[in-house]
């Protein structure tokens, strides 16, 4: 059980504090409600580029990392389609350093031209390293725009193309900051050996003087319902043929989401899963198979992807995959298989809430979803899914007319 207190400052900044006396380390997580979905279609990759700039010096502190390292701390951050999340840990006695650093970059940035120039290049190299220089690294660049025709999930967090990052100007950077990096658009969580009244005193000292910003109303175009199967094929220099299938599904926390997430686990999580057993173990048609739900805050995707075993006929593999999926959809899961995936969710919950940092990240995320106590109750949502409900939900969503398929083929040698 993760018990916590929460309070809100006059500028709208929300805090969540969980006391863990067992650890000498304290973790602070700052979540900003801005992600790649908030970008302009001609300026994609900006939220992530901006995350890099948050380390390039704030109004009173020339370098973010140096004083944190001097205080024995470490930090990192990530951006996805929905949020930008910053986190740090440091010895508990130096907790005020965390308040000082995070409040200064929420107050204002230094906006150094050098930092923008360098980080643009760094992100371009990140683009190359993680997406272009990897086999299948560009699969999602093809799959996203196939599945999403109007919603911003059609582009990746890293951006649609390198040129968008190269073209970012200081003016863009400043207006992005003014719009999104405000106390009323953020959530702070703190976990460690700290009492709420101490945290509140420090929060008021360092964060209260930061003025609130504009209130953002997110008016994103809803993705219209897909009514026809979509399909695209690419041929590249990769070691084996691969297939990706993506179906539109409801957003994270919607009732149907949990049944679909369990279905993905039934299909391809572990060696006893349906697709693995049938297509990898029994028929040796695929070398790898996976299934997952994207868990986005707007309606997301249910994805199945597989790498075909070298030497196996591609059509034969695809047919077997489709047939196995049809058979799965055809009947309710057995009580024991449903129990298995629920047990797995319970183990994940147990292992996910051990370290102070994991707890801080989870608290902030669930608070952002509207209920921080989900950190304690989320596994109940999985536990409550019934076999009949899973059967009906998967049949409702996992049909061909709702599906986008990518054939990622190996070039002939």
């Amino acid at each position: 059980m993760v018990t916590f207190d929460s309070f809100t400052l006059s500028n709208g900044l929300r805090f969540f504090v969980h006391r863990d006396v067992s650890s000498p380390i304290v973790a602070m997580n700052v979540l900003y409600d801005v992600g790649a979905r908030d970008e302009h279609p001609d300026q994609t990759g900006f939220a992530h580029l901006f995350e890099h700039l948050m380390f390039g010096g704030s109004v009173n502190i020339p370098r973010y990392d140096e004083p944190l390292q001097m205080a024995g701390g470490q930090n990192n951050a990530f951006t996805n389609s929905d949020i930008t999340n910053y986190y740090l840990t440091l010895p508990a006695q130096n907790i005020e350093t965390a308040f000082w650093l995070e409040s200064d970059r929420m107050l204002n940035l230094a906006f150094s031209a050098k930092s923008l120039e360098v980080q643009r290049q760094v992100v371009v190299e990140e683009f190359r390293q993680n997406y272009l220089n990897q086999p299948y690294g560009d699969a999602w660049f093809i799959l996203r725009p196939l599945a999403y025709k109007v919603h911003p999930y059609q582009w990746s967090t890293i951006g649609k193309e390198i040129s968008h990052i190269e073209k970012a100007t200081m003016e863009d950077v400043k207006s992005f900051y003014a719009r999104f990096y405000n106390p009323n658009n953020a959530i702070v969580s703190i976990v460690g050996n700290v009492e709420t009244h101490q945290a509140q005193k420090l929060a008021e000292k360092w964060f209260t003087p930061i003025p609130a910003g504009p209130v953002n109303r997110r008016l994103l175009p809803a993705e219209p319902q897909q009514t026809q199967a979509r399909f695209v094929e690419t041929k590249q220099k990769v070691p084996a043929h691969a297939i990706y299938k993506a179906w539109h599904i409801p957003a994270y926390l919607e009732d149907e989401y949990f049944a679909l997430s369990l279905a993905a686990n039934l299909l391809a999580s572990g060696r006893s899963s349906i697709l693995y057993r049938e297509l990898v173990m029994r028929k040796s048609l695929f070398a790898e198979i996976s299934a997952f739900t994207t868990g986005n805050l707007d309606p997301g995707l249910f994805v199945i992807s597989g790498k075909v075993m070298p030497g196996v006929d591609f059509d034969k593999a695809v047919t077997a995959l489709n047939e196995t999926l049809m058979r799965f959809l055809d009947k309710k899961p057995s009580p024991s298989s449903l129990q298995k995936v629920k047990n797995k969710m319970e183990t994940i919950e147990v292992f996910d809430n051990i370290s102070v940092l994991d707890k801080a990240m989870n608290l902030a995320m669930y608070a952002h979803l509207g209920d921080a106590n989900l950190i304690n109750t989320i596994s109940r949502k999985y536990r409550d899914v019934q076999a009949q409900e899973l059967y009906e939900t998967t049949n409702l969503f996992l049909n061909e007319s709702n599906c986008s398929t990518l054939y990622y083929l190996k070039e002939d040698e």
Partner: protein, 432 residues
């Protein structure tokens, strides 16, 4: 208007005293069959972790892939259960089974909740004692691994580190042996059976437990793993005569979007008096975000998304390496800057504040990395076979705090001379 008054923001809040590490030594048992057990106990934990460690890493194997394949085949069927039944049972309890082979060891690990451990342990025991190595699954296993190998061979960073590793230790030595695609066809079940018989034996194995370890759990383990018998005698230790040649190796990759670079050399072993000081030097050079390599090649020049250096200790040798991936057009410049940073550490003393930052940072890292029984067990794992106990980390941290500016320069001169390094580059920009 008190709430609009800013605190002093351009001066850092004062720092507290460095906190001391609080370490617990594990409870140690040795079963009658010689198996050594280390228990990291915390009654508040619901998560449970079990790590079995065999002296059966790739340095011991008779031919490439034998060690990892023997371990990888253990869950593929036992005298009592088929592969399908084993995974069904383990997964039913929400548990995860992992296996990993290093040069020195083979690891078989289980993560589960404390309620299901007693049901899972007998299955793990079967895998260790009575694996059947069924032919059909062996073929399938090799096909899958070959696919993985081919996929990795298209990754620049992967290719670079494989070639670097062979050069670092000598391709003919136990640590430097390199598997090729042809090796997949040379392996057979008899080799795995023999390797299993000779190297998966209780006398040379270790068991690390972390979580809520009740006397009942110890009793169950005693009844299972405590009864594990093997007729095999302790294998004769291998000899690692590292055969390192500095120089440059370039591997052409026509579709490379970046050059993958690894630079390094063998350095001192863990019991050498220079070792802890070298950890400080490594951190300063490339061991954290504020390191010289990171500040120069990423934060100043934008050549790369990341660059790091690391010290990789094995039982009989230690590797030191710098690795990065840089834009094709700046390959030469990146190598020059790496050399510049090495030379600068040799030629000029480091700043007092820079050194203090690294010491404080490492103090925080140790606190973090040793926080809780799971992390402590993890750190203990890296000491297996060395004879050190957990106090190693106290000694290490104390030695780190005592490292001086002149120590750093002396160590840089002794170990970081660029001319004594091996450089491997994979890409399409030749480095000559």
């Amino acid at each position: 208007m008190n709430d609009l008054t800013h605190p002093i923001r351009n001066i850092a809040p004062s720092l507290g005293l460095q906190s001391a590490l609080k370490l617990v030594e594990p409870e140690i048992f040795t079963f009658d069959n010689g198996l050594n057990v280390y228990a990291f106990h915390d009654s508040s934990m619901r998560a449970f972790r079990f790590d079995l460690i065999f002296r059966a890493g790739s340095a011991w194997h008779p031919q490439p892939l034998a060690a990892s394949s023997t371990l990888g085949m253990l869950p593929e069927g036992t005298a009592m259960h088929t592969a399908g039944r084993l995974s069904a049972k383990i997964e039913y309890h929400g548990a995860n089974l992992y296996h990993m082979t290093t040069k020195d060891f083979a690891f078989l690990s289980l993560e589960c909740n404390d309620k299901s451990f007693h049901r899972l342990l007998p299955l793990v025991c079967e895998m260790i004692e009575y694996p059947t190595f069924p032919q059909r699954y062996f073929k399938l296993y090799l096909k899958g691994k070959k696919h993985e190998f081919q996929q990795n061979s298209q990754k620049g960073q992967h290719l670079a580190s494989r070639h670097f590793n062979a050069g670092l230790f000598g391709a003919m030595t136990p640590y430097g042996k390199l598997a090729t695609e042809a090796d997949f066809d040379l392996l057979n079940i008899e080799i795995l059976r023999d390797f299993h018989r000779d190297f998966f034996i209780p006398k040379t194995s270790f068991l690390i437990l972390s979580g809520n370890i009740t006397p009942k759990i110890i009793e169950i383990i005693q009844q299972n793993l405590g009864m594990w018998i093997s007729e095999a005698s302790i294998p004769v230790d291998f000899l690692q005569q590292t055969d390192f040649q500095p120089g440059k190796e370039f591997i052409f990759k026509d579709n490379a979007q970046q050059s993958s670079i690894v630079v390094g050399r063998p350095v001192m072993e863990r019991n050498h008096p220079d070792y802890f000081g070298f950890l400080v030097l490594n951190t300063l050079l490339g061991g954290f975000f504020g390191s010289r390599l990171m500040l120069n090649l990423r934060e100043d020049k934008g050549y790369t998304y990341g660059i790091s250096s690391r010290v990789s200790p094995l039982l009989k040798a230690t590797g030191f390496s710098i690795s990065t991936e840089v834009g094709n057009s700046v390959t030469r410049q990146a190598l020059e800057e790496i050399h510049r940073e090495l030379n600068r550490l040799m030629d000029q003393p480091v700043g007092e504040e820079e050194l203090q930052t690294v010491k404080n940072y490492l103090n925080g890292i140790y606190l973090h990395a040793l926080d809780g029984v799971f992390n402590q067990a993890e750190k203990f794992k890296s000491l297996i076979g060395t004879g050190f106990d957990m106090s190693y980390y106290l000694k290490s941290l104390a030695a780190i705090q005592e490292t001086t500016i002149s120590d750093i320069q002396r160590l840089a001169q002794k170990y970081l001379n660029p001319e004594q390094m091996l450089t491997v580059v994979v890409g399409k920009e030749s480095i000559d």
